[in-house]
């Protein structure tokens, strides 16, 4: 790595940052784009999603670095059951104790994996945590007051999907799919050597986590708000007219909207007259597990091949599960 002074870096950074705005503006070549309503809609959406996620990302980063600094590796290994099935059940119910939404989940799980939590347990926790918790359950119940079975179905399906994917990962993945730099062994938090002791170490590592996750988060927010600004939602809805099409449409919609798991039920309920309940279920289970924002964050954690394998598993299991459950709803 060549050495260069900060002053040399500055002139390069500023134009790069300013360039982004014209690039963003010129992607779809619409003339009305230069009209300010689009720019303001984009800005309000973008900053809105970012501010919404920020407290959760910070909480996740702080919690993960507290665990990193204060909790010994053996503790995690001792807590997680040895056998696969009890361990997965444990992971699925962990969300009840840590009601963190998906943005905070990924830095936390990353730390736990590095501390020696088995991969299948970590995956089940990432998938189940954002849905199987009391906050999301009560929000879903409120949104579907006239249709409470959907709230129970959401919890049930999320549990089943996390368990099944955890088992598949346990059975099929033998080599660590973590990105090289994230693997265990690199990790040694020599906090004693840092100025200011353990407290400073917590904040320093939280800041590192914030920058690592933050770039994916911001890119995810950027894409989501571009889509929200330029795609007419009713034109999408006509694609979902056919019975199976509605499932695929609602799943795709969950992916591009990147809503928080506490608010997506309200959005789903606004589609209640025009879409079958099964597809709403698919929307509410897939969204928190897999969307633009957290797909980006998962890519930072896992090697691309494993991440794509995981995306495929999530999408197919949710799709099958929602169709099976639709008979009961």
């Amino acid at each position: 790595m060549t050495s260069f002074s900060p002053l040399k870096m500055l002139p390069l950074l500023l134009p790069a940052a300013f360039l982004i705005i014209p690039i963003v503006l010129l992607i779809p070549k619409h003339r009305e784009l230069m009209d300010s309503p689009y720019l303001y809609t984009f800005k309000t959406g973008f900053i809105g999603i970012l501010l919404e996620a920020l407290p959760f990302v910070l909480a996740g980063a702080l919690l993960s670095s507290v665990i990193g600094v204060f909790v010994a590796d053996e503790t995690i290994t001792r807590w997680v059951p040895r056998q696969a099935l009890p361990a997965l059940l444990f992971a699925c119910l962990l969300g009840v104790i840590f009601p963190i939404c998906e943005c905070g989940m990924i830095p936390l799980v990353r730390r736990l994996l590095r501390k020696g939590m088995p991969l299948h347990v970590g995956i089940a926790f990432i998938l189940a945590g954002p849905i199987l918790n009391p906050i999301v359950f009560s929000a879903t119940l409120t949104a579907f007051r006239s249709h409470p079975s959907l709230a129970y179905a959401r919890m049930g399906l999320a549990f089943a999907v996390s368990l099944i994917i955890g088992l598949i990962v346990y059975a099929t993945v033998k080599r660590s799919p973590l990105r090289l730099s994230m693997q265990r062994g690199d990790e040694e938090l020599h906090h004693e050597a840092l100025n200011g002791g353990k407290l400073a170490a917590v904040f320093t590592h939280a800041a590192d986590d914030f920058f690592e996750m933050g770039k994916y988060l911001i890119l995810g927010c950027l894409l989501t708000s571009l889509i929200q600004t330029f795609v007419v939602q009713s034109s999408l809805a006509s694609i979902g007219g056919r019975p199976l099409g509605s499932y695929l449409f609602m799943m795709g919609f969950a992916f591009i909207l990147s809503l928080c798991s506490t608010s997506d039920a309200f959005v789903a309920s606004s589609f209640a007259h025009s879409f079958p309940s099964g597809s709403l279920l698919a929307f509410m289970v897939l969204g928190p597990m897999l969307d633009f924002k957290n797909a980006m964050m998962l890519m930072s954690l896992f090697k691309t091949r494993f991440a794509l394998y995981l995306f495929f598993l999530i999408a197919s299991t949710v799709f099958t599960g929602a169709i099976l459950l639709s008979g009961w709803l």
Partner: protein, 289 residues
């Protein structure tokens, strides 16, 4: 991966500045009471706390960069960009929201966003016919029925922003019972580009559950005799008799406007859901009197 101590220190300093800038931006939004353009008041409480950890993080990074012993600093387990263009790309991602935030004034969502998200004018398409007025066998609609009775007793039904979605939902649910009653509502003017609304427009608000990503525009049709040419996004107060018409194949409630008055944009442009609309209504009515 080894990094030279100098370059790690420089990254830390720059990161400290970015974190501090985020803290300042949030503080700035809170100072100017602008957080409500982006998130709900409930969530704003949490966002407002963010500058605290952000500043501590910035401070500890700066301390490590300025006073840290070089042996203590390395890129352990954390990726730092390897090249100059890599760092430039990475940090511009973080500067983008800051630039947008500071450079453009805060503005609430309006007609352009409503057109893309799709305006809701109907709320309950599957309501079973009930025999008696404001009676319902559906336990989940009991709140609507209770609110309906209170609304009906008013000479002019006010649509309070605090219970905007609940009130419109109630009026829509019992639309035939409310036909002929007078109502008054304020919001921004929304007009469909396709011209399918005829001479009509809608008076609308964005309902926000969590943040602007889940904002949904809800409104009520207005048949205006005057002020027809007001531009979209004008804030208006509409008063007139409620009537049921067939719009796009659905029975829809509309206000046959006696008056349409342009007003100042509300200081809280979005509306939120209320945990208990009936209780909220009683309080609002007391405070109006």
């Amino acid at each position: 991966m080894m990094y030279s101590t100098v370059s790690v220190k420089r990254h830390y300093l720059f990161r400290a500045a970015v974190l501090l800038a985020f803290a300042v931006y949030i503080e700035h939004l809170a100072q100017y009471d602008a957080l409500h353009y982006y998130v709900t008041p409930k969530l704003a409480v949490w966002v407002r706390l963010c500058p605290v950890p952000l500043s501590f993080m910035a401070l500890s990074l700066a301390v490590q960069a300025l006073f840290g012993r070089s042996s203590a600093i390395c890129g352990c387990g954390h990726q730092l960009p390897r090249s100059r263009s890599g760092s430039a790309a990475m940090y511009s991602v973080f500067l983008l929201p800051l630039l947008l935030g500071f450079a453009l004034p805060d503005r609430a969502l309006g007609s352009a966003a409503a057109a893309h998200k799709g305006m809701s004018l109907n709320y309950s398409s599957l309501v079973p016919k009930e025999s008696a007025r404001f009676q319902t066998s559906d336990p989940f609609a009991a709140e609507f029925a209770a609110l309906a009775k209170k609304l009906y007793s008013q000479p002019v039904i006010p649509v309070f922003p605090q219970i905007f979605s609940e009130t419109l939902g109630t009026l829509d649910r019992f639309k035939h019972d409310f036909e002929g009653k007078e109502a008054s509502v304020s919001g921004f003017l929304y007009r469909e580009n396709t011209g399918s609304m005829g001479g009509r427009f809608a008076v609308s608000r964005f309902l926000v559950q969590c943040c602007t990503a889940d904002a949904t525009p809800i409104g009520i049709l207005v048949n205006a005799k005057q002020q027809k040419s007001l531009p979209a996004d004008t804030w208006i107060k509409v008063r007139g008799k409620l009537q049921v018409i067939v719009y796009k194949g659905k029975e829809t409630l509309q206000i046959d406007a006696e008056s349409v008055t342009p007003i100042e944009e509300s200081s809280t442009p979005y509306v939120y859901t209320s945990p208990d609309a009936v209780e909220e209504w009683d309080q609002l009515l007391r405070s109006v009197k």
